[in-house]
Symmetry: C2
Subunit: 270 residues, 2 copies
Amino acid sequence: MIGGSISLALKRMGFNCKITGVDNNPDHCIEALRLGLADEILPLEPAINQADLVIIAIPVDATSKLLPRVLDIIKDQAVMDVGSAKAEICKVVAGHPNRKRFVASHPMWGTEFSGPAAAKADAFSGKAAVICNKEDSDMDAVHVVENIYKVLGMHVVFMPAKEHDLHTAYISHVSHITSFALANTVLEKEKEDNTIFELASGGFETTVRLAKSHAAMWVPIFKQNKENVLDVLNEHIAQLNKFKSCLESENYEQMNELIRHANTIKRILK
Amino acid sequence: MIGGSISLALKRMGFNCKITGVDNNPDHCIEALRLGLADEILPLEPAINQADLVIIAIPVDATSKLLPRVLDIIKDQAVMDVGSAKAEICKVVAGHPNRKRFVASHPMWGTEFSGPAAAKADAFSGKAAVICNKEDSDMDAVHVVENIYKVLGMHVVFMPAKEHDLHTAYISHVSHITSFALANTVLEKEKEDNTIFELASGGFETTVRLAKSHAAMWVPIFKQNKENVLDVLNEHIAQLNKFKSCLESENYEQMNELIRHANTIKRILK
């Protein structure tokens, strides 16, 4: 989805390039060609050999394994990833002789879907793209990646990988856990009753949308960002417990304050 | 928002009616006229006296106070409410001599906004509308309300008020508490740092959207549906704790299973 969306967006913006696709899944290869996400499909090595820029868009655990191999193969190409956890991947390649050709990055867009069919040409425009630890990368490689994100209509933000991982725990990772847990709450309690799904409308759909997200993508993110996710999850459970005790003690005055405080998020989010 | 949306939708569907607006807030009265949500504004009594159907679309605590007064005034008009908690309102008017003119109902649509400017003509189409305890209402009154919802493009579902309140705890009320709590989690932890809001994109926006909802509407709902909300909230916190212990014990196999279970929500929600 992410790799394909970058490809579609670059083509739409008239960026002059040939996209070579590499994928372990033969169905995805065919789909990518059919949807115009890739101009050709090649095995990893020949694809890298003819590339100017290598974009790794796979789950973060797979990136941790593949990136060192890619850095072994490249000559002077730039390499970027797009994963949602950055500290671990930077650690994995810290001592690699070609480390400076790698740019750790994360375009801030996603959906609950995955795979080539979920690619969208207008996905990234107006969103932020984070580049982490740029001092560990060659300037020219950073410029290539920065330029790609600018072509996609994104604004580039630089920050340390550790800081990125703390922020994404808040704005993305724990939102996903909340959605998964909410889906399981409903599935648990309404096992023998489908009425709920007949009634479910906007609010539920909205909050539970992310619960459709793929385990193969998210478990590795939670694993790589474990400390931050645990920290935020604990805070979130504590906040839920505040609502719980307001209800238990029938302290609706305090509940009112909790909600009015939550409302202040609207000053910040449009 | 709800009253105005019903009005806009009825007009759009060519339903032949005059809409008389009643509102405590003078600004809302002017806004309702300006936006065409009401053809005229009158005080409560004369409005009721000339009406065939009275639609009460205000917070549930205000409905509990107003509905008995409305039932005191009416002759043979039908009266409906649209609130998100139904058992309490049915209890309030249980002994009223005009109880049978009242139809307890809930159209399953809402947003995080409120007030006349948030009214939408296409809000209800394709959604469910619940009518509760219909055996406590006159048949002709039920038919009027049923017909209104059908004109709005909704499918009508009949169920006991207690059952409705359990289901809405799952699909709406606890989703809102989750969003409020998530907003407070972020606001608490990121007090001195605005980076998070620069990075926030789809996933966060989605999950936290409901946190913009109005306390004056929601506290009374949580209060009236306290037992169900507490029950579901406890289950939700228990489900979050499962994710937490998976992380703490680094049991990613089990986390994978929790997510795959949550994914089954997609068989049911489109």
